[in-house]
Symmetry: C2
Subunit: 255 residues, 2 copies
């Protein structure tokens, strides 16, 4: 385990959580990430309380990565800027899709720094997307006020496994020069070859073409995306972040 992007893999089997000193190092690294217009449009919730942790583990269906690990929740936070507006008696114009997406960028750059810092300490990490799809319950559990939305979870700890690198699409599928090059059918099918090698466990598994196509079909057309989206919509409404609804409406002051 090191911090090189080329050896980066998600760790789902941990020997122990991060220590308090390791967590502090990781959080200080996250804080150094670039932030758009100095808005710091994110917050990190460190989950240390056993009951809170149990509730969150249940919400994410007790994934393997949640066992023996520390858990950080990275949240989009427009509440901070709203409080600034309240104190300075001015109407925040930052919001809508811009607020959500700039918030997501701030949040994820901080999470990326945390991943690299953890790697440099010899710790493993795993991004957990499931909390986003249980956002209404996560908001209740962590008392997230309006303007704050849980985006991603990050588990970290000492790795108890050494999995092979997960497959990635080839560079020519991901990178375009000057103009977007739409892939023809042959190029798409060729790119699937690259992800037919799977490594969910300690060993690499080579999928048959049929298995690969089944995997891709279930990934893009699974029923969970639609049920998750319903939860996300509920959370956006609840948190005053549905676009079209200015995040300042309700308690924001005008000046």
């Amino acid at each position: 385990m090191d911090s090189s992007p080329f050896s980066q893999r998600s760790i789902r089997d941990y020997a122990r959580p991060a220590s308090a000193e390791e967590l502090d190092f990781v959080l200080r690294a996250a804080r150094r990430a670039p932030t758009a217009a100095m808005m710091h449009a994110y917050s990190i919730i460190v989950v240390t309380d056993p009951d809170t942790r149990r509730t969150l583990d249940e919400l994410a269906s007790r994934q393997k990565a949640l066992k023996n690990s520390s858990l950080l929740l990275f949240c989009i936070d427009l509440r901070r800027a709203r409080r600034w507006g309240e104190l300075l008696n001015c109407r925040m114009t930052f919001g809508g899709y811009t607020g959500l997406l700039f918030g997501a960028v701030d949040c994820t750059l901080a999470a990326g720094n945390a991943i690299h810092a953890a790697g440099s300490l010899g710790l493993g990490t795993c991004v957990v997307g499931a909390f986003f799809h249980r956002a209404p319950d996560v908001c209740k559990t962590l008392d997230l006020p309006p303007g704050v939305l849980p985006l991603l979870g990050l588990t970290l700890g000492l790795s108890a496994e050494s999995p092979p690198l997960r497959p990635r699409l080839p560079l020519e599928a991901l990178v375009h020069e000057n103009r977007y090059q739409d892939s023809d059918d042959e190029a798409v099918r060729r790119s699937w070859d690259a992800i037919s090698t799977w490594s969910g466990g300690p060993e690499e598994v080579h999928r048959s073409e049929e298995e690969t196509l089944h995997f891709i079909r279930s990934t893009i057309a699974g029923p969970w995306w639609e049920s998750g989206e319903k939860q996300v919509l509920e959370a956006l409404e609840r948190q005053g972040l549905a676009t079209g609804t200015a995040p300042t409406s309700g308690d924001g002051k005008t000046g």
Copy 2:
């Protein structure tokens, strides 16, 4: 310039762009980033054509960071999964806010890896948010098809400056334990002290309280957020990514 998060700073003054070999290294590092459900919901456009580059530099108001540097555009890409659905004759259920925000996470984790990889080569980088606010023109310039949205630009090259670290809010403002702790007025004002030291140039500048409050007011309540949001809404409609509009509508097949 190294890849430690603790010495990370944005570079706006470049001696030269990245070489082809350096770019290749950075792009291969970006490709290794975690990706939700193997969707690879992002694309990177490398801008090498001088005319295209001039157009984009104009769109971002010829910011200093765009001079003498290489430019990568990191885009949310739901088009890829849509093409997969077309070939496999199944309806993509991934979309809406989930598609936008998971796309933003994939995109930004890849950009974060690029930043760290560039740092490990001794190169500087700067995240450029301005392209997002010129998204309709960027989409036209780069021929971005429906399902693709430019999220952030990244300049890179050999640094010609050694700026001090930019200020960040204190850790206690960004990190919460178990429950979100809303800051009282005094804590908010205290956190502003931390960003009263500014370092936009080679030297640190200490702002007066009045200057700091003016900076914060203009940051959260600037007119550009609202004009930028209009552009973003136009781009989301144009690219078939406005939430409520399923990104598959139009040319997606049902199966």
